[in-house]
Every structure is written in C-alpha cells, then in structure tokens.
C-alpha cells in the first residue's frame, strides 16, 4: 500500500493510504474508509470556498444639484452638533432634528449633491405623532406618566441621505455537518453520528441595500427604521423638500461600502444556511463571497426625527416617514419591570413546585 500524502483523514487527520483491492482510501489510524472521489470532491470544494472575498463596486460619480426654481432652498447649520441641513427657505427658526439641543442657524443655500432618487414622505406630522403614540402599547415597561409628561423638544421630517447598493453576489461556502440518529435495544442505547462536508455555491441578487450616509443620523436608528418600499421611489425634485429638511451626505460611498459588504455577506451565508437544515449540527468552515455589477446610488429617504424630554432626560425616536415604523429607546419604569419579574417568578415557582412534587412522588 502506498501512502497518499495529499489526503488526510477528515476524522483523525492521519494520512490516508490507497487500498488497491477496494480502490478506496483508508485510514490506518481510525479504520475509516473514504472513496477516492469523495476526497477529490472535498479538496475541490474546499478550494472553491477558500480564498479572499472580492467586492467589486463601481465608483460613484456625484451629480450637482440644479436649481429649477421649484422651491427656494436655504442651508441650516446646528451650532451644537454641527449638522448641515438643507430645507426650504420658509422653515424659519427651528431646533436641530438630530441633537434637539439648539436652534439651527439659517444661511445662504450653497447647493448640494443631487440624489438619484427620493422616497417622498407619506406620513404627515399629525399621522406620525399618532403612529408614535400608538407604538406605546408595544413598550411594556413604559412609565404611565410618559404619555402626559413627555415634552416634544423637536419633531422634524428629515430626508436622510443613504447610499443604495445593488449587486449580484456569487458565493461559495463550505460546512462541517453532523447528523445524529439514536436507537436502542434491550441492553444498550446507540447513537450514530454521521459526519459530512457540505459545499454550496450559487448566486443571489441584492437591490437597494441602504447604508446611512449621514454622520449625525445614528446608524442603529437608520438601520432599525428600515425597510422602505422602493416602489414609491421617484426621481429627485426640490419640490419634495418643501416643509421638510434634507441632510446631505458626509459619509462617502467608499466609506459605506464596508457596511454594505458585511450585510450582503451575512445574508448570503444565511440564505445558504437555509439549505442545510436537515443536519443536526452545521458549522460554517469557510466562505468566499464575490460581487459583480455592484452599483451605488445616492438617495434621500424620509424619517421623522423626534427628540423627547422626559424627567430631564432626552429620548430619541425615529419614524419611517413612509411605513410608520417607530424605533428608539423608551424610558423604563423600574417598578413595572420588577413587578413583572415577581409575577412571572411567582407563576414559575408554582409550576416548579408542581413539577418538583411530581418528581418526588
């Protein structure tokens, strides 16, 4: 028998030897037998899913805003947080929608970059407020006094800049998987664990993955307020800004690519993972993700920003201006929280006492 140095036993990593009689590779250490074809496919699959991921995005060329006299625009800046916002000239004196701390200062409109498209606000201020108050029922530990004692410092409709990423993703992922079966006879319990190597390769297309392009808008809020329905997206026109504010991007497309890559990679692997659910244990071993046709567009998406003061503390909320999804961080009523804990613990103790009694009788 010749030692085949190229193949190592997947079970114990000892070198496999070729058995001329059975035409299989055998492991003299753990007595496992592997068809030569299986080992060849395994080596090929590992090579496919190994290596570095390649992300190929085309570069973004900014377009200048052309004044069509649809609306008179002005620039506003926040002396506290430094936010630079555009809006129509008639906004007047207002509080910064991001920090809620100070009054923004109106200045001369200096032109901005023209977005590729915009999703106009569907929820007006009143509807957004009703949606927000309707969301209180989803906050179980909200103090009862929040509804009456909250003070809305600022509520502004802001078109937040987003980079939108489209791409066709090609990925190869390899997994180590196990499937266990159990049976028993009169004297013994048996567990058979089958070990597999899984390979998946395929393509997935992504469209309009938004990445927050504003430093002032917190990424967690902007990702939580997703998704938007892009069927309502229209070509940008200054007229949509009337009565609203529009932030301009201060995070470049190149800086945002990393976040888009991360989300695409996670979702691609997750989609591939769905094909492995007939195994008991699945551990991803390696993955390689490549993009093609990567397109980047600049868009403005509608968000109602709320800054609410309650018990001398500021609470921020964001409402999707199209779908009405509310995200933020509510104040927590500790007495409600611990009452709930005691109630659940009480019920659980009754159940535990019943189970304990059954186990001991």
């Amino acid at each position: 028998m010749d030692v085949v140095q190229n193949y190592k036993c997947p079970c114990c990593t000892a070198p496999l030897v070729f058995d001329a009689e059975t035409q299989n590779l055998i492991c003299e250490s753990c007595d496992n037998t592997f068809p030569l074809e299986t080992m060849q496919q395994m080596t090929k699959g590992s090579a496919d899913s190994g290596g570095t991921s390649k992300y190929d995005w085309e570069s973004y060329t900014p377009r200048n805003y052309e004044d069509t006299n649809e609306v008179t625009l002005a620039n506003y800046s926040c002396p506290s947080c430094g936010a630079e916002i555009s809006g129509d000239d008639t906004l007047g004196s207002t509080v910064c929608p991001y920090c809620g701390n100070s009054t923004i200062v109106k200045g001369q409109f200096e032109g901005t970059l023209k977005p590729d498209y915009i999703i106009p606000f569907k929820l007006n201020k009143k509807a957004a407020m009703e949606t927000f108050e309707g969301d209180f029922k989803n906050a179980p530990f909200l103090p009862d006094s929040f509804k009456n004692k909250k003070k809305i410092e600022e509520m502004a409709g802001v078109y937040v800049p987003f980079w939108m990423f489209d791409c066709d993703c090609e990925a190869a992922v390899s997994y180590n998987a196990e499937r266990a079966t159990a049976w028993s006879d009169a004297n013994y319990n048996y567990t058979k664990t089958d070990y597999f190597k899984l390979f998946r390769r395929g393509r997935i297309g992504f469209a309009n993955i938004p990445v927050d392009a504003s430093k002032k808008a917190e990424d967690s809020y902007m990702e939580a307020v997703e998704p938007y329905n892009y069927q309502d997206a229209v070509e940008f026109s200054g007229a949509y800004l009337s009565g609203y504010m529009a932030d301009k991007y201060d995070v470049s497309a190149e800086e945002s690519i990393e976040r888009a890559n991360e989300r695409v990679k996670n979702s691609t692997i997750e989609a591939f993972n769905d094909t492995t659910n007939r195994y008991t244990v699945v551990i991803p071993e390696s993955s390689r993700v490549g993009f093609s046709n990567g397109k980047i567009r600049y868009s403005l998406l509608p968000v109602w920003m709320l800054n609410i003061k309650y018990m001398d503390k500021m609470y921020k909320f964001a409402i999707n201006g199209q779908t009405g999804k509310v995200v933020g961080e509510y104040p927590v009523d500790n007495s409600k929280k611990w009452k709930y804990f005691v109630k659940v613990a009480g019920i659980a103790y009754v159940a535990a006492a019943a189970i304990g009694w059954m186990l001991l009788h």
């Binding site: 997947p10 989803n138 909200l142 998946r200 297309g205 992504f206 961080e329 929280k337 304990g356």
Partner: protein, 259 residues
C-alpha cells in the same frame, strides 16, 4: 424404666418447646460462611430473626459466603433462596440478604409476598439503612438494622399498606430542590429581558435579507459528502430493583450493590 420414661418425656417436652421455632422454616436464619460474626452474635441475631419470622410467618434470612459461584450476586442470591428451601407459606414468601465477602457485593432477594411487602421502594429504603454499615464493615449493626427495618416493613404490610415511598439519593433530592429554586428566577429574568428588548428598538441590522431580489437565489452547486460515522453504545441504566426470573424459573424481586 421410670428414668428412661422421664428422660423421654423431658426430651419430648423440650422438642415440643423447640418445634414452633423452626416449624415453618427449613433453614437457620443466619448462615455466615464468610465469618463476619462471632457465635454469640449469630445466636443473638438468630433469635431476633426467629421472632420476626414467626410473628409474620415470613422468611427473613441472612446468608454470607466468601466465594461467589454465580456470575452475579443477584443470581447467586436467587439460587440460594430457590435451591435451599427458603421461604414461608405456600408461596415461599420471604427476603434474604446475601453478601459475598470477596467481591464485597450484597443483594436482597425477595420472593412470593416478599415482592409486594418489600417492593422496589421498600427495598431501596432497606438498602439505605443497611448499606452504610456494610461499607464500614460493621456487619453486626448492618444485620441488626436489616432485621429491625424488615420488621418495620412487615408491620406496615400487615396493616394493609406496604411501604411504598420513593427513595431518592441526596444528590437527586438536592438537584430537584436547587432546580426548583433557581429555574423560576432564571425564567423570570429571561422573560423580563425579552420584554426589555422591546423598550429599545433602535438596534443595528447586520443582515440584508429584505433586499434580496425575488427569484434571484440560485444555488448551482449543493454537494453533501458523507465522510464517516461514529457509533457510540452506552449500557442502559439498569435498576437492580424490580422483578426478574431466576435460574429456577421463579420470580424474584431484588436490590443490590457493592460496599
């Protein structure tokens, strides 16, 4: 002649006095081939065993030896019981405590009504009383407590309610108590944390599943290579209590272990 007659009468009287003692039982209550006890101890314990045997018309015996001729203590105890005529009444009711000094194993075997009077819970109770003394090599005390506990169980059976309380190890009891005390707190804390999550909804989304183009997922290669199998075999936990059939074909109950 008168002397001979007097002697015979005396013998007859002493025989009649002795007869009730062994009337229903073929074997002495203790056979101590392992030599654990002194003669005075054997006499004392025999007297106690006889009292119990007669009071309840039920075999309660002890058998010790140094070499075990069967594969298991259970089989040996059953064989001693079956082939030496142990037991009382029609069904050979009784219990026998067997000990092998070489292998340091003990086994309680029961038969007939013994299966009911010394049911699995009763045997565990009896074992919990006797085994600690065996482990300390205090055989006299072990046998004494065996007789005392057997009497206790027989008295309960006589009143129509054989001992049937489940016996648990301290480890099991502590485990159940600790889990019952801690699990509700953990469940309540976990539920509270889940609710607390709803208070903060501004959280990052690391996935882009919402943006997958419909119908664009195409997995061209899906290969599952089987590599090898490992079969593990574990012996089923066997309760040494419960009923079984001995080599003679009779049904026995039992409980045993090592000391």
């Amino acid at each position: 002649m008168k002397k001979i007659f007097s002697c015979m009468l005396l013998l007859f009287i002493s025989m009649t006095l002795l007869l009730p003692t062994y009337a229903a039982f073929d074997n002495p209550p203790i056979i101590d081939d392992a030599g654990y006890l002194m003669q005075s101890e054997i006499d004392e314990l025999s007297m106690e065993l006889d009292n119990v045997r007669e009071k309840y018309n039920f075999e309660v015996a002890i058998y010790t030896e140094s070499d075990m001729t069967s594969d298991t203590a259970e089989a040996r105890a059953d064989d001693i019981y079956d082939y030496n005529g142990y037991g009382a009444g029609e069904n050979d009711n009784g219990i026998l405590l067997y000990i092998c000094s070489d292998t340091r194993e003990y086994h309680f075997t029961t038969h007939g009504k013994g299966l009911e009077y010394f049911n699995s819970n009763g045997l565990k109770y009896l074992e919990s009383k006797v085994a600690p003394y065996l482990s300390e090599n205090d055989y006299y005390e072990a046998f004494d407590i065996y007789i005392e506990t057997s009497e206790e169980l027989l008295e309960m059976a006589k009143s129509g309610k054989p001992y049937n309380e489940k016996q648990y190890s301290t480890k099991y009891l502590m485990g159940v108590i600790i889990v019952c005390l801690i699990a509700p707190l953990l469940i309540a804390f976990w539920m509270m944390k889940r609710k607390l999550k709803k208070m903060k909804t501004a959280v990052s989304n690391d996935y882009a599943a919402n943006y997958i183009k419909p119908g664009s997922t195409n997995i061209a290669v899906s290969r599952d290579l089987f590599l090898y199998s490992i079969i593990t075999k574990t012996e089923k936990a066997k309760s040494s209590s419960g009923t079984h059939t001995s080599s003679s074909g009779r049904t026995h109950g039992g409980q045993g272990g090592s000391f």
